[in-house]
Subunit: 226 residues, 2 copies
DNA sequence: TGAACATTTCATTCCAGGATGAAGTATGTG
DNA sequence: CACATACTTCATCCTGGAATGAAATGTTCA
């Protein structure tokens, strides 16, 4: 019966620890069970149990990254519901404050062989927003517009598509908690940007520096200021 | 702390008997404690207790008429929250027959302050199909064509765009399971249609009625028969 | 006025489900 | 390989709050 389903979903949300965790996720980022336990004021075991229930109910989804498990909303409707609920509490201007503080030197870096950090996330989001790529089943596919764009950028997408390595896919960024671009496309993009001196690798570290030339070209290309 | 308030409101809603009563009230009518006890499957004493708590939290209001006490939503935000919650339940084909089976209610009604139900969904789809609006990142943006169209319709879009409230966005309709139009634009559209007597609010309910005048004008405007 | 009905209040019982400590699994690191 | 970290699972305890019967408060109507 539908009414029972509504009751069970409402019951899931109507629990102090769980609603606090859901609220923390309102910033759209993904957090680990331990971090969410902290904001909810419960032990990691409890948090794990609560999160498990919400995943089961398809309120949250989880993506495994090594020994970390990042939780985030499974669908946009969840955010709508939390927002509507928060509108019920007497006048307040609750600001959403990220659970983790930003780490400056992780601003821009490499992840294996592609761009990570905030720059990686922004580039990824722009490529999607401009519909050069579209997400399909945990993979990014290139659109016709995207093919033209990448060709103009000087990338031979044909040879990339022949490789058995995935062409393009989202990879959850551990400092930004949002996905950046991974796959063979991401690799050649970084290679190309270094070749063109848009970015430079710092020493032997994974830190990246964006050159002034890179900044202006990225602005022209994607309309973003990095 | 504000977070605690959110938790307590969510806790109120997240109880089987209470959410069932809240759901029954979605038709905008007022019901007595005994009636609501019936739909929730609890005793009148229990219902009274639950209703008392929700009145205290300003979710419901009560109006005394003789020996009867009629409960209804205290504010439109409550309906909005329940609707958002109901969007979370895993939906197969479902039928909503709470207490009344008024077709008009599902057919055409208000959601918060804009048109919902089938009429809301159809209007939304036509505005998109005719490219007066385009979706971009969970928001609708007005096209040049759309600006002309809305101006002719008698809407001052400039002042709407200055507001901090979102101009236009999709809002999933719980009965149609497709988005209808929300945001400040949707609000003034409804206001305008009521002012022009294209639609009428049924007294004390969220049901809307479309007038013959409204039907013919909507056909001219959007090419749809509602 | 009193009987019937609608609703609430109170005191008490009772249990679903959250909290917790300990142990188990998987991953990364030196 | 050993050890630390991140997270989950399991068994157990425990409590907040829902349900209930009885009784009080109010209202209508004959």
């Amino acid at each position: 019966m539908e009414l029972e389903n509504l009751a069970s979903v409402a019951g899931l949300i109507g629990e102090p620890a769980r609603i606090k965790m859901l609220w923390a996720l309102m910033d759209g980022k993904a957090y680990t069970a331990t971090e969410l336990a902290l904001v909810a004021g419960v032990s990691p075991q409890s948090a794990s149990m609560h999160l498990g229930k919400m995943v089961l109910a398809d309120l949250l989804k989880v993506s495994n990254q090594g020994r970390h498990r990042y939780f985030s909303y499974a669908r946009p409707e969840v955010a709508y519901a939390i927002e509507a609920l928060s509108n019920l509490v007497p006048h307040q201007k609750q600001e959403i404050v990220p659970v983790t503080k930003d780490i400056p030197f992780e601003y821009c870096r490499t992840c294996y062989d592609h761009i990570a950090g905030r720059a990686g996330v922004i580039i990824n989001e722009r490529l999607l927003a401009m519909e050069y790529l579209i997400e399909k089943d945990q993979r990014y596919e290139m659109t016709a517009k995207g093919e033209v764009f990448l060709k103009n950028f000087g990338i031979d997408t044909d040879s990339l598509l022949k490789q058995k390595r995935p062409f393009a896919r989202p990879c959850l960024d551990w400092s930004e908690r949002r996905p950046h671009l991974a796959g063979s496309l991401a690799m050649v993009i970084l290679k190309k940007m270094i070749a063109e001196d848009w970015m430079r690798k710092i020493h032997d570290s994974r830190t990246l520096m964006i050159t002034a030339k890179g900044q202006s070209n990225l602005y022209d290309l994607l309309g973003v200021k990095i």
